[in-house]
């Protein structure tokens, strides 16, 4: 794992340096000292989240807490996280809904004797290791930190919305107050204070498990050890760091 990361870093580094080099040649750079030298002694984290689909009760506490913690507008068009309900009928068709992101409960949709199986699925930014949103941002206003979290620089974002188009998971939206792109940050401001993301904090059934990838003893490690996990839309090679246990094939 570690070796793979190092290899990745070196490859990334080579690619970056050739590209940056070209630009430096073109423009010259005011801040040209290279930063990849690891002089800081902080351990490198790799944050990730496990989701136990079988434990989600669709209470919407996570959606509500996320909006409060991150001052997300309450209107039903802006969500850093939301909960979807899947109902697969006897005839095999699937019905999906997420009224107000699932924050106000789920009214009965179909008669129970028509249901084959049904469950809730929490969704959020997948914090991809190969993030299409970072790839398309023209100015570097959205970026991946050393600990694998993708953040947005709201004071630098143009509001071109290309990242919103590029996200396969619908995890991004345009904050109507700042007019910049926004999405889940794993509550980055909480992590540095030793706290869990707000959604994880309030989940009453431990359906969400937050932790560091690569540690041997942690809630996330136990989750990864005992479950067959799946990521969303693996064919797009975004390499998400949100891992779902017992995920149904209907979930996209």
């Amino acid at each position: 794992m570690k070796k793979k990361r190092e290899l990745m870093n070196r490859r990334e580094f080579l690619r970056e340096s050739t590209l940056v080099g070209t630009v430096l040649l073109l423009f010259g750079s005011p801040a040209s000292e290279d930063s990849d030298s690891s002089n800081d002694n902080e351990p490198i984290h790799q944050y990730g989240m496990g989701i136990q689909v079988d434990k989600c009760i669709g209470c919407g506490q996570c959606v509500d807490a996320c909006k409060r913690e991150n001052d997300v507008p309450r209107e039903p068009f802006f969500f850093r996280t939301w909960v979807e309900r899947y109902i697969i009928l006897i005839d095999g068709t699937a019905q999906v809904d997420s009224p107000n992101g699932g924050s106000e409960g789920f009214p009965e949709m179909v008669a129970e004797n028509e249901i084959m199986r049904t469950f809730f699925v929490p969704k959020l930014c997948n914090q991809c290791a190969n993030p299409p949103c970072v790839q398309v941002c023209p100015v570097g206003a959205t970026f991946i930190t050393k600990d694998g979290v993708i953040l947005i620089d709201k004071d630098y974002c143009l509001g071109c919305r290309y990242c919103i188009q590029a996200c396969p998971y619908g995890a991004r939206f345009l904050n109507p107050v700042t007019s910049t792109a926004e999405k889940c940050t794993f509550c980055y401001h909480r992590l540095s204070r030793g706290l869990k993301p707000a959604c994880v904090e309030v989940c009453p059934t431990e359906a969400r498990i937050f932790g560091e990838i690569g540690l041997r003893s942690s809630l996330l490690a136990r989750f990864m050890r005992f479950n067959k996990v799946q990521v969303l839309k693996p064919h797009l090679n975004t390499e998400p760091k949100i891992y779902y246990a017992n995920l149904d094939g209907e979930v996209r």
């Binding site: 630009v23 979807e84 974002c157 071109c160 188009q165 996200c167 619908g170 345009l174 996209r252």
Partner: protein, 408 residues
């Protein structure tokens, strides 16, 4: 913000099936439709101009300078819809400060600067230099100084200097053709490279964009050449018109073949997204795709242009057909852009539902601004023509004789 919420609330009721909650707001509106449409016209007009220059198609020679100026006028306006669409237009300078080199959109600044400064401006300058010098000498008052400034003080009209102008112009045109391909192919790439969106994600996208650009550019030049000639009370050069119409026909055949290939390929591969895209076409895009883009914008002009080839028709009727076809082609290509940009956002990336686009009338993202942006290039073109008249009678030496010289 209240305004936005008011707009989104009724859309929520029009959603069919399931869409991710963040997808209710449609992010790229009509301004982003206008942008590829305008750059398409630039690339198309330029490629038409290079036909005369590089491939020496003598018949379209009357449109050479006009096409160059049209391309310039439209190129000057091209970034405006993009800027107007940004939340923070003033931050657009960041694209030059810290371009993120993996981003297709970051390349816009560079592609644009290259095309505007190196290709179009230079080619026009080399082509016009001797006329500019002539006007700097013959005009009076402030005009004299303006032309002098435009000449950059390069007043040498010796045989050698003129020959260099011609050679440089031709060289730039040769660079210019791949550049025009780059400019518009790149716009197609912005959409074609979005793997999250099955309606956009296609390797053919840049090529389809390019050929539809050529189609729209030629059609535009038929209109502009025709209208300007009529307003100047000059006879329309029918040989030129016929040639333009032929090129339009050929370009359309290529364009429709590519689009059909794309369509058949999608149908035959029939991947996960095929159901929602089928719904998209039959429910949301039926009018703009099937009726306007295919029937009115492609098949009807294609048929009428082909009929001109088959039957011997009088000049007057041919002109009418060409004009009609060119107008229909413009409408068709505009709805092509609409179907790509808006169509690509009307279905959910969950592939489970469709949303709705409600265009504003007023406001920055509204219809009126878009119409203004579509006509603004014509106004710019009017000013450019005032400064650098492309007409043969305005030039120092008849252009035809120069063309003759160059072919010798």
């Amino acid at each position: 913000m209240e305004n936005l919420i008011e707009q989104l609330q009724p859309i929520l009721k029009q959603v069919v099936g399931y869409i991710y909650p963040n997808e209710v707001e449609l992010h790229w509106g009509i301004l982003i439709v206008v942008y590829p449409y305008i750059t398409g016209l630039v690339a198309g007009a330029f490629i038409l101009a290079s036909l005369e220059r590089v491939f020496e198609v003598k018949e379209v020679q009357p449109t050479y300078r006009l096409s160059m100026l049209t391309a310039l006028a439209f190129l000057i306006i091209a970034p405006l819809p993009l800027l107007a669409h940004l939340s923070y237009p003033e931050r657009s300078i960041e694209i030059f400060l810290t371009p993120q080199l993996k981003s297709a959109m970051a390349m816009f600044g560079f592609v644009y600067a290259w095309y505007l400064m190196i290709v179009l401006m230079l080619e026009i300058w080399f082509d016009y230099r001797k006329d500019i010098v002539y006007w700097a000498r013959s005009k009076k008052g402030w005009r004299k100084y303006m032309y002098y400034l435009l000449s950059l003080g390069s007043l040498d009209l010796s045989e050698k200097a003129i020959r260099f102008d011609r050679k440089a112009g031709k060289f730039i045109t040769i660079i210019g053709i791949p550049s025009a391909f780059l400019l518009h192919g790149y716009v197609g790439f912005i959409f074609g490279s979005v793997k999250a969106n099955p309606w956009w994600s296609s390797v053919l996208m840049p090529i389809v964009f390019l050929f539809s650009a050529i189609v729209s550019g030629i059609a535009l030049m038929i209109l502009i050449y025709g209208v300007t000639t009529l307003f100047r009370w000059k006879p329309i050069d029918m040989a030129c018109m016929d040639k333009l119409a032929s090129f339009l026909l050929y370009a359309m055949i290529l364009d429709i073949s590519l689009e059909t290939l794309d369509f058949i390929h999608r149908m035959y591969e029939s991947v996960e997204s095929i159901h929602i895209l089928g719904q998209l076409i039959s429910q949301k895009l039926f009018i703009s795709l099937v009726v306007i883009q295919i029937l009115l914008g492609t098949l009807l002009p294609l048929g009428s242009l082909a009929s001109v080839k088959l039957f011997r028709l009088p000049d007057e009727l041919r002109r009418l057909i060409y004009f009609g076809a060119a107008i229909l082609v413009q409408i068709g290509i505009f709805s092509t852009r609409w179907n790509v940009v808006i169509g690509g956002q009307l279905f959910s990336k969950s592939l489970r539902g469709l949303t709705h686009y409600k265009m504003e009338l007023l406001g920055i993202e509204g219809l009126l601004i878009s119409i203004a942006l579509l006509f603004l290039p014509l106004f710019v073109l009017y000013i450019i023509i005032k400064i650098l008249p492309p007409w043969p009678e305005a030039a120092t030496t008849p252009l035809s004789s120069i063309a003759k010289e160059s072919s010798q």
